[in-house]
């Protein structure tokens, strides 16, 4: 009987004693239906470009959300999420190119491969602490980038691979891809929400906030962190695989430091360790990038981004989501859930 099975036993507690929550399907499904209308409306009004931006938001939202599970919820300073993202992209591409499997199935293989890599990479990494993890995972990112570019020729060198796309092209194909992305996004978000608000998620929080106490209450830190690593890697891989087929290309530049800092910015600007943070952060950054910063000359772009991040971190270290929630609640009506500086999980 595995640890997670034991924990997942139905526990009877007084309402409010258990910090985990049941999933309430109503609002989520309603929100999803509303969200599904948006790309259709945009296409109907000829805003094809905005739809492509939405797809980007969905993909980066998935990666940021899965990364946030490791960084924010569990406080493991891993910079290695892009390793899983790239693994998903490459595995899915290789499978579709060499076996002719449909991309719809191959992306799941990409996710599984990423989860496996997460398990393998997690074994040496998760025995270390704090800052050492950051350096080591960054090392893995660099090593993988180097290996993909200069390693065996079937990775396609620096030009990468050109996997087949989801559909045969045509005018409506962006809309189709957007809906596929939305479906994957919904699955990922549900999975992350589910684990965050389950006893397992509370165990992660406990490990983050007071490792010694968590261990003394019977949580095996290594096993839990490994489970988390693989779980989070799966969704990063899924996002990577989807992105590879959407762009019909995957290259070693997927592992660039720029993307890495951008994703961290999404998590930090949105709200470190909160559920909505990475989603809001991804949306803010992608739209800012293409509407405000695109028109700026090189250099100004980075200047504005860097300044924005400095201001957010210094003024509102908790991120946009918790800060805005506090402002709204201060206006009187406590409509939004209150975030605590210390425990930012709602």
């Amino acid at each position: 009987m595995s640890v997670s099975k034991q924990i997942a036993r139905p526990v009877r507690v007084a309402p409010g004693a258990g910090p985990w929550r049941r999933f309430n399907g109503g609002p989520a499904i309603l929100g999803l239906v509303l969200a599904a209308g948006v790309p259709w409306l945009l296409m109907a009004t000829g805003q094809r470009y905005v739809v492509t931006l939405l797809v980007t938001v969905l993909v980066y939202g998935m990666v940021a959300q899965s990364w946030n599970l490791v960084l924010g919820v569990s406080g493991i300073f891993s910079l290695g999420q892009l390793v899983f993202y790239a693994t998903g992209g490459y595995v899915s591409s290789l499978v579709t190119i060499h076996t002719g499997l449909s991309p719809f199935l191959a992306i799941w293989l990409g996710g599984l491969a990423a989860a496996l890599v997460g398990l393998v990479v997690g074994v040496p990494i998760l025995r270390l602490r704090g800052i050492y993890i950051a350096l080591l995972t960054l090392g893995f990112v660099m090593l993988l980038q180097n290996y993909l570019g200069t390693g065996p020729s079937f990775f396609g060198g620096f030009y990468g691979l050109q996997p087949p796309g989801f559909s045969s092209g045509g005018a409506g194909s962006v809309l189709v891809i957007c809906y596929i992305g939305l479906a994957l996004f919904a699955i990922t978000m549900f999975a992350v929400w589910r684990i965050m608000h389950s006893p397992v998620g509370v165990a992660f929080l406990a490990l983050r906030d007071s490792e010694v106490y968590a261990i003394s209450r019977g949580i095996d830190p290594f096993r839990f962190k490994l489970l988390l690593f693989a779980y989070s890697a799966f969704f990063a891989g899924l996002a990577g695989a989807f992105m590879a087929h959407y762009q019909q290309s995957v290259t070693p530049s997927t592992l660039d430091f720029t993307l890495l800092t951008n994703l961290i910015m999404m998590i930090v600007i949105g709200g470190w360790g909160t559920f909505w943070g990475p989603i809001v952060g991804a949306a803010i950054l992608v739209f800012l990038d293409s509407y405000v910063l695109r028109n700026l000359a090189a250099g100004w772009h980075e200047l504005v981004l860097g300044a924005l991040l400095v201001v957010v971190v210094v003024v509102a270290p908790a991120g946009v989501v918790p800060t805005v929630a506090r402002w709204v609640n201060r206006l009187g009506a406590r409509v939004l859930p209150e975030f605590d500086e210390e425990e930012e999980l709602v």
């Binding site: 270390l128 050492y132 950051a134 350096l135 090392g139 180097n146 490792e211 860097g306 971190v313 210094v314």
Partner: protein, 292 residues
């Protein structure tokens, strides 16, 4: 044999500069518990300041290096006052601090890009020429870099070991609360440490730019190597950092000589991965105490 000696010489030169950069990182980590990822950007600023003085104003290299030290030291102080001080002691310091320095690094890189453009600037050597011993080439610039770095490291070590201020810095990095209770002005120590650390990075930038390359993103790789050195030597240990700097410099020089330049970072990362698995606290680091 000649290749070997040439490689050892290169290792000593690069090791000295990595030592300069890594000591700054270590000091900041030891006293403030801050991983300063803007270090690479400060290195670049130092390089460009040196370039401006030597090429733009045509002054001699001593003044140019001095200017690089002063400007980047002031930059470090400014960074500390504007970004670090408001965050000190707030919840979430562990995460927010290093992310803020990433942002500062991006910002500084962008400023340099705007002022000087994205191209590579040709930084002249401080002293041109070389002499050949047997078949081994010794660039005067390399001898200068190595000499200045070694002298500075010795001075810094003496400062930390013998002077009152150095003692205060070491006290703060060992036991911050106790040091504060003993009447050490912790805020001033932080400021000094940030200034000195940034000044060293700037000097490293000014000295190494003519050997390596000078462009707005040139600081990233030296910073990574300094990070590797810091972790390898043991975070917070100055002696360990200096030893590790020379080991890493030599390893890198051998890899470049016998395997090729593309392999230097991957091999260094492999080395550090192995070291961390065997000895997580680095060469001279003390194992982290677990907070109950």
């Amino acid at each position: 044999m000649e290749q070997l000696v040439q490689a050892i010489w290169g290792g000593l030169v690069f090791g000295s500069v990595y030592g300069l950069m890594a000591v700054g990182l270590t000091l900041v980590w030891g006293s403030l518990n801050l991983l300063n990822l803007a270090h690479g950007a400060i290195y670049v600023v130092g390089g460009y300041v040196g370039y401006t003085f030597m090429v733009g104003l045509g002054v001699n290299w001593i003044l140019a290096f001095g200017a690089a030290i002063v400007v980047s030291g002031l930059l470090g102080v400014l960074l500390h006052l504007v970004v670090v001080v408001p965050m000190l002691g707030k919840p979430g310091w562990d995460n927010a601090s290093w992310i803020a320095t990433v942002a500062v690094g991006t910002l500084l890189g962008a400023v340099v890009l705007l002022v000087y453009g994205p191209g590579i600037q040709a930084m002249p050597a401080a002293i041109r020429g070389n002499f050949v011993l047997g078949h081994i080439v010794f660039q005067y610039q390399e001898i200068l870099v190595c000499g200045v770095a070694v002298v500075l490291l010795i001075l810094l070590n003496g400062f930390l070991r013998k002077s009152r201020h150095g003692l205060a810095i070491r006290a703060v990095s060992q036991q911050r609360d106790a040091a504060q209770l003993m009447g050490i002005p912790v805020a001033m120590v932080f400021l000094t440490v940030m200034g000195v650390s940034a000044a060293l990075a700037g000097l490293a930038g000014a000295m190494l730019s003519s050997v390596l390359v000078l462009n707005p993103t040139a600081g990233f790789v030296p910073m990574l190597k300094a990070l590797i050195v810091t972790i390898f030597g043991g975070l917070g240990s100055v002696k360990g950092t200096i030893v590790a700097a020379y080991i890493i410099g030599l390893v890198e020089a051998f890899v470049q000589t016998f395997l090729g330049a593309t392999w230097s970072l991957p091999v260094l990362f492999l080395v550090i991965i192995v070291v961390l698995l065997v000895r997580p606290q680095g060469l001279y680091g003390t194992p982290e105490l677990q907070r109950l």
